[in-house]
Amino acid sequence: MIEIKNVTKKYGNKKAVDNVSFTVNDGDIFAFIGHNGAGKTTLIKSIVGIHDFDEGDILIDGMSIKEKPVECKKLMAFVPDNPETYEHMKAIDYINFICDMYDVDTETREKNIKKYAKLFDMEDKLNDTIDSYSHGMKQKAVLISALAHDPKILIMDEPFVGLDPKAVFDIKEVLNEMVKENKIVFYSTHILDVAEKLCSRVAIIKKGELVKSGSMKEIKGDKSLENVFMELEG
């Protein structure tokens, strides 16, 4: 479970995230929606321990990310919006590096790397250096590295940007599979129709403040998620 409790993050005097609270339960696929600059990435980076925050707390399975960062991070995998990787590394070395950081044994990593490489059509491309990849291939390499250590919580920032339709379809399959195993998927997106179909719960953030949060049904009612979002933005 992820518990966001009254989190505030400031950049100078400006509040990028202002007193935000919500909970993500086990088995949720949670969509985090907001316009550009609303504070989505800031909050995501706070959850995964990249950013400090000024007030409140974030609990991962009951542990505070401030107090037990290493233990919390062990449960999570993070896929950033722009696939930030060590470009000079071969993809397989990068994936092995991430697995080493999560203490993944050889057998598990071999099984998972093969599984996801096959799924994302990267089986014969992992020996190339990442700087030779297209944006989508980099995203796939980061996804493989994130999934290779069987995370309990998968956190993604705009995961579908730059991916081909087959890869988007495959990711959706992976996310559904994770939810069946009672894992958590938390991601930010601008693709509202995908979020509407895929996610069980949603939170909408505007200018750093949480404006709506709840189950997909509660939030959208009879309308489409796009309509709800546009009404809130308007």
């Binding site: 321990g49 290493v70 993070f78 060590y86 590394m89 092995n96 990593r109 020996n127 190339d128 030779s132």
Partner: protein
């Protein structure tokens, strides 16, 4: 013209924060203030040294020769600096795609690149020329407005020839390396050869001077024959001639324009070849090595990978180590000449008893002048987010950077040690202490580098040269290294002959154990906090 000015403005803003309007003081401006203070300190040191030289030359009325010598020396340094920078500043720039897609002539892009390079070298040049002008004002004869006018013109014109030479050497090395599959390795090797060549020429200037002296009637003629602008400066300082100055300026501008024109014929071909990333033949996943490692080992492997895949980083750090080996070998071959030269300061007996201290000085020189870690944080760039999201203690991440740097420096220093131990027949106790110091001294240098880099990180750099050669962090850590080196030298020079070398080495070992311990504590407390606050 409007487009050109906008382009220059955009490029300079991204690289140097020039023309940037700031509404309030921020951390970066604090770093800049410190860099300015250190620049003044550096200029003061140059001014002091110039005064000493002027004082010696004044009785012979040869003050203008000092001007020529400094201009010559500065130009050599601008050239060496330039060779390091051409790769990332002229070729392989991150904004290539953006600039080349704009409706502007490709030659304009190259002009802007070289202009940016010129501004960097102009600032470097000013660090030397301004103190010399101030010192000459005191020692020169009949110093008038024409001298200041000449100096001002020279300040702006002198960097042109060295940067054009650097660009040509850079183009040659890049052109050569772009033909190979392993471009980075080829670039490192060719740059090293070029640097060692320039260094060899600089070290053998006395012989070159001797040769030219036989063909020159005076010292002024001699310098003019070696490097015309240097000689012209000293001549114009005493006998101002507006025509000569105007011709000199025009010649340099013409050289600049012609060079840009000629370079532009090859530049884009070389650049696109450098950008071709070689992809290996597709290998099936079943044949790939999937193996687990410990966190420490994996982090060190990653650091070494970054080091060996960043040419400017490896040239910068590797040059000091190669130099140490070259010095060790040169000392073996010319030990007698060196020992004779040392007799100016010490008695023969003292020298023979303290040979281990000579080795120690060399280790200190290499350790403090080879700062690998001063850019290891900045080089992470946006990848710092990967490290920060991993379930690894910050201390482990930072220490992995120290271990990997030690792995790079220690074997080379130990190899040099062995050569010198054998040559100078160093006894076992002193040899053991020197081996320990070969680890302790670089360790201190690495700790200082990473701490300074954590205080002044540059995670948004356009290229690796910007962090390795031009950042506040690299400047500060080199200055701190120089101060430590001067301090270590001064203390040891004072002690040599008065204390048994074994005792002296033991004392130095003790001092550096304490220094390393203090620096370690700073890194794992203050450094960890600084790392955790970094964000992109």
């Amino acid at each position: 013209m409007k487009k050109l000015i906008s382009l220059i403005r955009a490029c300079m803003t991204s690289d140097m924060n020039l023309f940037k309007i700031r509404t309030k003081k921020d951390k970066k401006s604090n770093g800049s203030s410190l860099a300015i203070v250190l620049a003044f300190f550096f200029m003061f040191a140059i001014w002091s040294n110039a005064n000493i030289l002027f004082e010696k030359m004044a009785p012979m009325h040869l003050q203008p020769v000092v001007l020529a010598l400094f201009v010559f020396g500065t130009s050599v340094m601008v050239l060496i600096e330039g060779i390091y920078k051409t790769g990332p500043l002229i070729f392989n720039c991150k904004d290539d795609q953006l600039l080349l897609s704009l409706p502007i002539k490709r030659r304009t892009v190259l002009f802007v690149r070289i202009f940016k390079f010129y501004v960097f070298e102009l600032l470097f040049n000013a660090l030397f020329i301004i103190p010399i002008v101030i010192a000459y004002n005191r020692w020169g004869e009949n110093v008038g407005w024409t001298f200041y006018l000449t100096s001002l013109v020279m300040l702006f014109i002198l960097p042109i020839i060295p940067i054009i030479l650097s660009c040509i050497i850079g183009a040659l090395t890049s052109s050569l390396s772009s033909r190979f599959k392993f471009k980075n390795a080829a670039q490192i090797i060719t740059s090293m050869i070029m640097l060692l060549g320039v260094l060899y020429l600089s070290m053998n200037l006395d012989r070159i001077f001797d040769y030219v002296a036989r063909h020159a009637s005076s010292i002024n003629d001699l310098i003019t024959k070696i490097y015309y602008p240097a000689g012209l400066y000293s001549t114009l300082a005493t006998n101002f001639n507006a025509t000569s100055l105007i011709i000199f300026v025009l010649v340099n501008i013409v050289i600049y324009i012609i060079s840009i024109y000629i370079l532009s014929l090859f530049y884009f071909k070389i650049n696109s070849r450098l950008k071709n990333v070689s992809t290996s033949t597709h290998v099936s996943i079943d044949k790939l090595k999937i193996k687990s490692n410990t966190k420490n080992r994996s982090l060190i492997k990653k650091e070494l990978n970054t080091f060996f895949k960043t040419p400017v980083f490896i040239i910068n750090a590797g040059f000091g180590m190669v130099l140490f080996l070259v010095m060790a070998i040169a000392l073996c071959l010319k030990a007698d000449d060196f020992l004779v030269a040392l007799r100016i300061v010490f008695d023969k007996e003292v020298i023979l008893k303290n040979l281990s201290m000579i080795v120690f000085m060399l280790i200190a020189f290499t350790a403090f002048m080879t700062s690998i870690t001063n850019s290891v944080i900045s080089l992470e760039g946006k990848n710092i987010n990967i490290l920060k999201s991993l379930p690894v203690k910050t201390k482990t991440i930072l220490m992995s950077k120290i271990y990997s740097s030690l792995l790079l420096t220690t074997p080379v220093i130990l190899l040099g040690d062995i050569i010198l131990f054998v040559k100078f027949n160093i006894n076992i106790v002193e040899a053991l202490l020197l081996v320990v110091l070969s680890i302790l001294l670089p360790l201190a240098s690495h700790f200082i580098g990473i701490i300074v880099n954590l205080i002044y990180p540059k995670l948004d750099a356009e290229n690796s040269a910007e962090v390795v050669k031009q950042s506040t962090s690299s400047f500060l850590s080199v200055m701190i290294g120089m101060m430590l080196l001067i301090g270590t030298f001064a203390i040891n020079m004072g002690m040599i002959g008065k204390i048994d070398p074994k005792i002296l080495l033991l004392m130095v070992t003790g001092v550096f154990i304490v220094i390393d311990t203090i620096l370690y504590i700073i890194l794992v407390s203050y450094g960890v906090k600084k790392f955790n606050k970094l964000s992109v």
